[in-house]
């Protein structure tokens, strides 16, 4: 049985931990709101880009001179995985889920005889994958989007990927990130970035009928050559924003749970403390009374 003093110290230490976690929860909540706003603000561009690509792809359909970014390299031998994690921990299962999925995917692809390469964004992913996947890790970046993700920053990532692609370092690029489902739930999501697959299915029914024939200035292929690299940057940008919002959501939930757990522990310990204090008092009283009776 712990002494009263030990219990008191224990309670005090948990109380200060609780203060930290509850402050972190508050910080996470405000960062989450900002991240969501930013993700929201980026949506119009992505939507319109998608619509434009849909029109272009429809007009290019069946033509053979499509660029490698659209048509692929004709092989799927080398797979590049772009892994998005956070830089900091204390976000519940946020990073662990991504890393688990990455490892699973590597096993799956290699069992199918493919070669796998990794590019990580975020310190946690780099640190974890560097341990057992060192030979596959070709590039990693940390401290992205601090304090705020800027599009320019993403453009350099996209440019690096495009350079690797032009250099025939990989055939297919897939991004793995946490999709923001709600503040308390994140869904590990995979999305193929290169070669780009136009979202035809979604567009076929709504606008196709009154779409008509577009005029292009300059011609389709040239526009496509400019549009596709930009679209890659946009897709990475939206995925990163999604991932950042998820990160703060996960951290907020984790910190909320930690705060609540600390509260439970404090309650339990306080009861134990009061009981043992009472027990000590009772014991002393019994001693006094029995001492008096013995006289």
């Amino acid at each position: 049985m712990a002494t009263l003093k030990e219990l008191r110290l224990r309670i005090r230490s948990i109380r200060s931990t609780q203060k930290i976690t509850s402050a972190q929860k508050m910080v996470a909540a405000s960062r989450l709101r900002r991240a969501q706003e930013q993700a929201e603000a980026a949506r119009p561009y992505a939507q319109r880009m998608e619509r434009m690509l849909g029109s272009l792809a429809a007009s290019l359909q069946g033509r053979v001179n499509a660029t490698p970014l659209l048509a692929g390299t004709g092989s799927d031998q080398t797979q590049l995985l772009l892994v998005m994690t956070s830089d900091r921990g204390l976000a519940g299962g946020f990073n662990a889920a991504i890393i688990r999925e990455t490892r699973r995917l590597i096993r799956e692809l290699e069992a199918a005889g493919k070669a796998v390469k990794l590019v990580t964004l975020g310190r946690k992913g780099r640190d974890a994958l560097r341990r057992d996947q060192r030979q596959r890790l070709i590039e990693s970046r940390v401290e992205i989007g601090r304090p705020r993700l800027r599009f320019e920053e993403v453009e350099t990532i996209a440019a690096a990927l495009l350079a690797l692609y032009a250099d025939h370092q990989f055939d297919i690029c897939t991004v793995i990130f946490n999709h923001f489902h709600s503040a308390i739930s994140q869904v590990v999501t995979r999305q193929q970035l290169i070669p780009f697959s136009p979202p035809e299915a979604a567009h076929d029914h709504d606008e196709a009928a009154d779409r008509g024939i577009y005029e292009f200035e300059p011609e389709e292929a040239e526009i496509l050559n400019e549009l596709l690299p930009r679209n890659l940057a946009i897709q990475i940008y939206t995925a990163l924003l999604d991932s950042i919002a998820s990160e703060w959501g996960a951290r907020m939930t984790a910190m909320d749970n930690a705060t609540r757990n600390a509260g439970d522990m404090i309650n339990d310990l306080t009861i134990t403390y009061n009981r043992s204090r009472q027990a000590a008092i009772t014991k002393e009283l019994i001693e006094i009374i029995s001492g008096a009776e013995a006289l």
Partner: protein, 138 residues
């Protein structure tokens, strides 16, 4: 009120404008083009330059864009800009400083990436200066 079309200007980071306009002139990469309601379907790339919004036959607003894409149909003109700034927000002195700095960097660096990046930025800065230098005749 004359017929209008919906003009949308979007940068990757946010939606900048979405409003009805009477006419808008976009700096296409193969020449400026004016868009009135009922325009034919068109997709074009955009070069660095000025977008002009017209109202009552006069320029109401000028916006600088650093390149991008435009999609036009009968009711809508959407410009996906790499970067967009209202013309009055551009400052000649600041831009000239930037241009000098970029040129200095171009001359001193050995790194190809840095050089290409600086060169691209310089094109944009120079386009901004040109936009400032040629105020609209209105």
């Amino acid at each position: 009120m004359a017929a209008t079309l919906q003009f949308e200007l979007v940068s990757p980071e946010r939606l900048l404008r979405s409003e009805p306009v009477e006419m808008v002139v976009v700096p296409g990469s193969e020449g400026n083009f004016g868009v009135l309601p009922g325009h034919a379907l068109l997709i074009s790339t955009v070069r660095p330059g000025l977008i002009e919004i017209y109202e009552g036959g006069k320029v109401r607003e000028q916006l600088f864009v650093a390149g991008g894409f435009a999609e036009v149909n009968a009711e809508r003109c959407t410009v996906l800009a790499d970067e967009a700034v209202p013309l009055p927000d551009l400052n000649r002195a600041v831009l000239e400083g930037e241009a000098r700095e970029l040129e200095a960097r171009l001359n001193t660096t050995q790194d190809d990436d840095v050089r290409n990046h600086a060169r691209r930025q310089l094109v944009v800065v120079n386009a901004k200066l040109t936009a400032l230098g040629a105020p609209s005749p209105h």
